[in-house]
Symmetry: C2
Subunit: 206 residues, 2 copies
Amino acid sequence: MSIDKKEHIVSAAIELFAENGFEGTSVRDIAASAGVNIAMINYYFGSKEKLFEAMVEEKSTFFREKLEEILQDGTKNELAKIDAIIDNYVNRLMSQHKYHRVIHQELMLKQREGLHDSIVATFAKNKAVMKSILEQGMKKKIFRKVDPEFTIVTMIGTINQVLLSKPMCKFLVDKGEDFDPYTDEVFKKRLVTHIKQVMHAHLLNK
Amino acid sequence: MSIDKKEHIVSAAIELFAENGFEGTSVRDIAASAGVNIAMINYYFGSKEKLFEAMVEEKSTFFREKLEEILQDGTKNELAKIDAIIDNYVNRLMSQHKYHRVIHQELMLKQREGLHDSIVATFAKNKAVMKSILEQGMKKKIFRKVDPEFTIVTMIGTINQVLLSKPMCKFLVDKGEDFDPYTDEVFKKRLVTHIKQVMHAHLLNK
DNA sequence: AAAATTTAATTAAACGTTTGTTTAAGTCAA
DNA sequence: TTGACTTAAACAAACGTTTAATTAAATTTT
């Protein structure tokens, strides 16, 4: 019917946008990949740009969750909360790395700037949670005095550096041609271990 | 004459590619921005794609320098060398942030994959220098045992996270609409201070 | 040094494709 | 028979590139 087909089109669009960018993907490409007539895309979404917005709308809900319960978990101290956030973030971003790449392509460009606010708003809650944990930890003297904003930048930046560009990732971690960082569990473990090690050293006194 | 005009076209292209991407920038846009006839671009460069390659060729020389003399500086210990690299990298990338954005857009896409190797090769020397400093430091027991590749990822990733997307950068560091991270010296100082703090904590024993 | 000739630079116009979008006719179930 | 879905075809606009004619500069010949 209708709702399945709409999601099917969105999935095909994410795949193609991630590989070729928004301008580099034609409506005909998307239609062919989704196995529907070209006109269906405008029939369902109104325009190519509105299809993009529908994609953001659908996927962004996926990122507006989970972190808050970590914040309120009484059984964890601040360091354990940071660790939980790192696990959670790496897992979420890696499982959605194609969509993640699409929106980061978008944030680099000046076109369609109207979407930037709503995209960035997706991360607002996560940033607030992260920041409040850091500030609590500093108040309790568990953490040393750090720049909370840039500490978040380092965490997210490390993940993005390996997630956004496959050739750059493969070059940096010295991997061969057939290596796929986004499905390799050993790689994920190595990434998580490294980020935790960096954050522990950065945050903990002594 | 000829060589000036070619550089003038390349400059206009970088500006537009950074804002709109490769596919989002038309040859007519570039010609208009550079103040030349459309046909001149194909006359000088052969095609839009070859213009892109010429841009990479011209700019990449800018990144293939400097780090090696830091490596061989006998007056600096390994930690001081890391600090020098951080200073050097932040300065170079910020001064060329538009070109830097263009090539990172490119690395995210599957189109023109033939260029990826030569782009990535630009960083090869820098990575090698960085890695050998880290390994030397670990051998001398000045540095603790870390993952050298991912340590580089964190350093570069932190810089890229604030450099590649202005709206994301402004959101993460809580800045207003008229704030420009790429020219703000206070911001640069804050970034450098943070990265050094992270790297010191990460690398130094106790 | 001037004139003649060759080469290089520049232009407006046109080329054939591809683009996103719309139309108008058709199918099918309710 | 209504209304939502689906289609092939057509739309104008924009794309990268090429052409053929013209101007400017450089080189050679007188």
